[in-house]
Amino acid sequence: MANTAEAHHDDHDHHMPGFFTRWFCSTNHKDIGTLYILVSFIAAIIGGAMSWYIRLELAAPGIQYIDDFQFYNVLVTAHGFLMVFFVVMPAMIGGFGNWFVPLMIGAPDMAFPRMNNISLWLLVAGFILLLLSAVIGDGPGTGWTVYPPLSSQEYQPGPSVDLGILSLHLAGASSILGAINFIVTIFNMRAPGMTIHRMPLFVWAILITAFLLLLALPVLAGALTMLLTDRNFGTAFFVPGQGGDPVLWQHLFWFFGHPEVYIIIIPAFGIVSQIVSTFSNKPVFGYLGMAYAMSAIGVVGFIVWAHHMFTIGFDVSTRAYFTAATMVIAVPTGVKIFSWLATMWGGSIKFEVPMLYALGFIFLFVVGGVTGITLANASADLVFHDTYFVVAHFHYVMAIAAILAMFAGYFYWIGKMCGRKYPRGMAKLQFWVFFIGVNVLFFPQHFSGFAGMPRRIPDYPAPYEGWNYVSSLGALITMIGTILFFIIVWRTFYGEEAEANEWGEGATTLEWTVASPAPWHTHELLPDMTGKAPAE
């Protein structure tokens, strides 16, 4: 980051820290954000490669490439863990959150800069442990949901699942500490005049996500510890023969697991709000509605977990409750979708690449969301549970929508982060290749699900071949789109210099008032936000 170093010398007299101190002992929210994004890129390549290998095998019935089915199950497991914990979360919360929350609220850094660094390196350690779990022993062949008894020592012997558990312990600790950091920063370090109801929606999103992390991750940590002791220290939390219950794991896991998916998507909501507003040259419609819709989604997200467990055999009236509660979430989500549309209505829309991605997000999140309505109904879910319909649903909302939001954030903010502009034409091409690729990849999976194809299988009966082949072609196109993205990342470093505000008058948040690349230390004098136009 030579550019930020130069900008830094303009601001201060003392020396920049040396390479090791700057990058391994950082207390700078921008550098830590950059490192999180780097972790995310590396994990994305590995997790993506795993998914492409899976799609390669699934392109035709019969076994062509992966005849070790434990390895296949390990690929499925590792792909899930990598994408959720080491790609999306680090990029959006650790990456964009760290970079832009202090910038947007007018704070010079996070409340706890050293703890920020601990969070980052705990995540790196967790990442290494996850990779080790896949190569030491037989690998964890359990799916990211790690259900016992399959995940017990008897059925997954060796150290692999234990290494996976420890990996998640560290990643969880990383996120809990990060959540504390964000909450304290956002509550206490907003610039004078920036009340809670005047802060940008991206900051709201990170705040709500931080609370979800704080409350959900400890439950995962507890469950993981119980599994660890079951596997290694003779406890029997999940062992039916000794009075335990496998279903207990599922409740604990999904109590975390459902808020987790909102942890994934709420930052994306925040990014999309900023981008839609900027490129419509119009303030977000219904600011309070947007902020409290995200809050409602977060809160209700804690009381719907068992919709992931509709076929485990729990009581019918409880299934009725979880059906109703899950459907409730559609209401605040709809408020958000319509508010984004209303923001654009009457606006003056520029179809720059971040906006293309944001528009893609809005539409494809609706597609993924409506299949969620089907799955929310326990009776309808009866024919879809553990089929490719579920796989299609969650990939639409996570692999498509959330990833599109990540790309949107990258293209929106990269000029601010590194001081260079991305190549416009190539980025537009990359958008279309990726957009087409992911739709060809995941839309046919709905049909496989209708036809009854189960999840997590390396081979399938002949009739499922057609749509699987199309889906694998989509994976190929997506892979090309991903490679194009990394070429763009490379070329951006040699791109045109970016001005402080490359997006014009629609970009009204504080990060656009500082130079590009953002100086190493910003807001050393707090901006005075009293009397300024509120975020609404």
Binding site: G62, F69, N73, G143, Y147, P149, L150, P240, G241, D245, P246, V247, K282, P283, V284, F285, G286, I312, G313, V316, T323, M327, V328, V331, G334, V335, F338, L341, M344, W345, G346, S348, K350, F351, V366, V370, I373, T374, N377, S379, A380, L382, V383, H385, D386, F447, F450, A451, G452, M453, P454, R456, I457, Y460, P461, A462, P463, Y464, G466, W467
Partner: protein
């Protein structure tokens, strides 16, 4: 005239014999078809209700999606920077906000009512005529008929190299579970090892088999036939290789089968002794 009478009788007789044959041979084959877009045909009361409800849901969801897409297209055309250089500053419209909160609530209530009615219907039956116990194992199923002298047998997948003519790959088993059609059957599910899931798409059955737990549901198979499903909970390396094959017979034929089966599977000890060898075969099934 007598010739005509004989001819008529012959035609009728042949007709009767043929229809009897048809009734015997009229076994539906319920598994997915290539390039299938939608559900397998519903073959139980549960499946019919679930199918219809899902169609209703798809209509609602499809209309919502098209509506949003249409709005977005209109917005992109009417309000792009060239068409509308001066943006408005509107950020509120209470009526609109009430509508887009209230209308979805209404739609969800309209969905929830049939949803919950069907949920209670599919849960269990009050008047079961027989019970079937299903036990999941790595990687095969065990079936027990507690109402029929505890008849028990295992149902192993047929490896590729042992498939006979007409047996679909990855869906065939050595001993399908035979059930009477047009009968209310209570299903009791459990497992001997890890969590499996007994699924039958055309009958809309899907329930986990969990060790230490007995789960209950029910079914009623509308037509005699061969029904195929696959294990639906990751259970280890051969998760995709433990199919479910239900052979539904008319009630009288079912009784005949029972008599034969009790003799065939009476030597359960032999079955169990064969189990390790069978397991090895299943593990190498490709």
């Amino acid at each position: 005239m007598l010739k005509r009478l004989f001819a008529a009788i012959a035609v009728v007789a042949v007709g009767v014999m043929m229809s009897a044959d048809l009734a015997m041979a009229e076994m539906v084959e319920m598994r997915s078809k290539p390039w299938q877009l939608f559900f397998q045909e519903p073959m139980s009361p549960t499946a019919e209700k679930v199918y219809d409800f899902n169609v209703f849901l798809l209509w609602v969801e499809g209309l919502i999606t098209i509506f949003v897409l249409g709005l977005m297209a209109y917005i992109c055309i009417k309000f792009n920077a060239k068409a509308n250089p001066k943006p408005s500053k509107t950020t509120h419209n209470t009526v609109l906000e009430v509508i887009w909160t209230g209308l979805p609530i209404l739609i969800l209530i309209i969905i929830a009512i049939p949803s919950l009615k069907i949920l209670y219907f599919v849960d269990k039956t009050q008047d079961a005529e027989m019970t079937l116990k299903v036990i999941g194992n790595q990687w095969y199923w065990t079936y027990e008929y507690p109402d029929h002298d505890g008849l028990t047998f295992d149902s192993y997948p047929v490896p590729d190299d042992e498939l006979k003519e007409g047996q679909p790959r990855l869906l065939s088993v050595d001993n399908p579970v035979v059930l009477p059609a047009n009968t209310n059957i209570r299903l009791l599910l459990s497992s001997n090892d890890v969590i499996h899931n007994w699924a039958m798409p055309s009958l809309a059955i899907k329930l986990d088999t969990t060790p230490g737990r007995i789960n209950e549901t029910w079914t009623h198979i509308n037509k005699p036939g061969n029904y195929y499903g696959m294990c639906s909970e990751l259970c280890g390396v051969n998760h995709s290789f433990m199919p479910i094959h239900i052979k539904a017979l008319p009630k009288t034929e079912f009784s005949n089968w029972l008599a034969k089966a009790k003799k065939e599977f009476a030597t359960n000890e032999t079955q169990k002794k064969d189990a390790p060898v069978r397991l090895a075969q299943a593990a190498t099934a490709k």
